[in-house]
Amino acid sequence: MPKQQRIRDPLHDLIQFDVERSQLEGVLWRVLQTRPFQRLRRIKQLGFSDFVYPGATHSRLLHSVGVFHTARRLMRVIEKYLPAKDARVDQALAAALVHDLGHGPFSHAFEKIGERFDLKMANHEAVSDMLIRNGEVSDVLRDMGSGFANDVADMVSGSGTPTIYSAVVSSQFDADRLDYMRRDRLMVGSQHAGIDFEWLVENLEVGEVQHGVDETSLKPVQTFVLGRKAIFAAEAYVLGLFQLYPTVYFHKATRGAEKIYTELLTRTITLIKDGSIEKTGLPKTHPLVKFAQTPDNIDCALSLDDTVIWGGLSLMADSNDKWIGSLAERLRDRKLYKCIDVRAKIAHDKDDGAASSSEADEVCAGVRDEIVKCLDEWSAKSPDEPPRILIDEVERSPYKELTEGAKGPLSQINIRTEGNHLADLSKRSNVVAALKTYKAFRLYHADGDEEARRKVMEIVDAGISKWPA
């Protein structure tokens, strides 16, 4: 019997790599053994979510394997419509496996720090691109052909014309989302946000949709669409994802921990860059110190993971810098700041529908500006004290988050109608049509800092009292 490499997975059960009969799977199995991929064992998929859901400690390594497994399922859908062998099948499967290689410790929170300091190696897309094109992973991928690693990197970055193969890696029904939605739900232990995965996949079709940039039309492209019998499964899929945001990804405690982490690392990196390493509590050889000193070095970025940060917290807690000492201790011992949910207060003071209205947006923007002014004043008086108020603003539309370009068929879920044309899900589902963008605006203050709490309440109350006409 041909040799299979096997992984047991709590979500998919048995995931096999046919290393003898499939050249691609043999190569990808070797990618799994590389240092960049093994590093993903030490990066949790959900960052600080285990502060709220203690079971949510799953790694990006297993998620990545799960995405590859799911991508294979999606390829079987494509093969029904496009049976001819296409080089992009292998590229997309490899891209599914390596798409998360560049994530840093606590993933998205780390990216925020990178934005503050303009650190290219804190941007997971840039790091993934480098790791796939050059180095150990690239060396293994080149066994599939000299240009294969670059083709995979292009597939991950989304370069090139959107195709049905790139839809496996990035679309409304990409393998990434189909894995993380189910895996995250399983690991947090939630009973909501379930999706009818098998029915969705069974009813996936390849369809041709229009797309464009702003008002300019481009040629139609192929992407995944759903058959008409999947309309309720599609509805549950949109709702499930939508529910995961307030309950898991944007949970107030998780976000509160991320904010503390961001401020802790911001201060640490600032001191290191200023040459005051000794104030951080970390030794000169610590990977975070090396990263801050040489942020463009990919090896320094590769040396960072969640465990490096966790291991450093007790050292930083002993720092003689009050900012670092107090925030490291808070993170280590889960002593988080207290949360004041501004939009919840708006709902309470006005009405439930007001919380996500444009009037609330205006109030929140004004409150935010007042809080920033207040923080600037406090910071000028006590520059070495940690921020006394942390701000969290976040929103998520029911569909895929849009960053640029126009909303259109390529970024929506399309259902095939009885008349054999494609309709946006929101035109066929009253439930989906009624969904509004989820928005949160929270302010956090240290427990016991009564002055900060009072100041927040004063600014918030003043903001709400100026409710726009």
Partner: protein, 171 residues
Amino acid sequence: MAGIDYAHGAAAIVRDAGGHIVGRTKFQKIAFFLEAAGVGSGFPFRYKHYGPYSELLAAAAQHAAALRLIVENESVAAWGGQYSTFYTQMPADPSMHPARARLAQEMANADAVELELAATAAFLAYERFPDPWAETARRKPEKAEGGRLERAKQLYLRLQQIPAPHQLPAI
């Protein structure tokens, strides 16, 4: 959401483009070229699917809309999607560098895809790609076809010829 200064910065881009900008892509690329020319509002850019993109600008535009510095209206395109048009009535800034309005208005009148191609090529030039136009065509084949790449080069030349504090790279 970005700070109030950035919200004003985002609204000022719409103002200097003639009071309105059609499309998020065009808004982003106008802001990118203003930064490149040294007459920007301080927005940092990274490479995304549509070329150079600033998350801070996207957040600032939202903040500006919340503060009613700009108005964002959505329309349906011929291809079935929706696109945004941004408007502002912000008063003119007499201290503004003259290159800023000339650049912004030239881009506001350009085709969105051609502007995206030109911005992508410029970004890749800063990233030291030896042939930024060839790399742009490789990354965006469906957008580069139909003579768009050539027209993007002509647009780029027109932008380059506008005297500005920073010369756009020769590509």
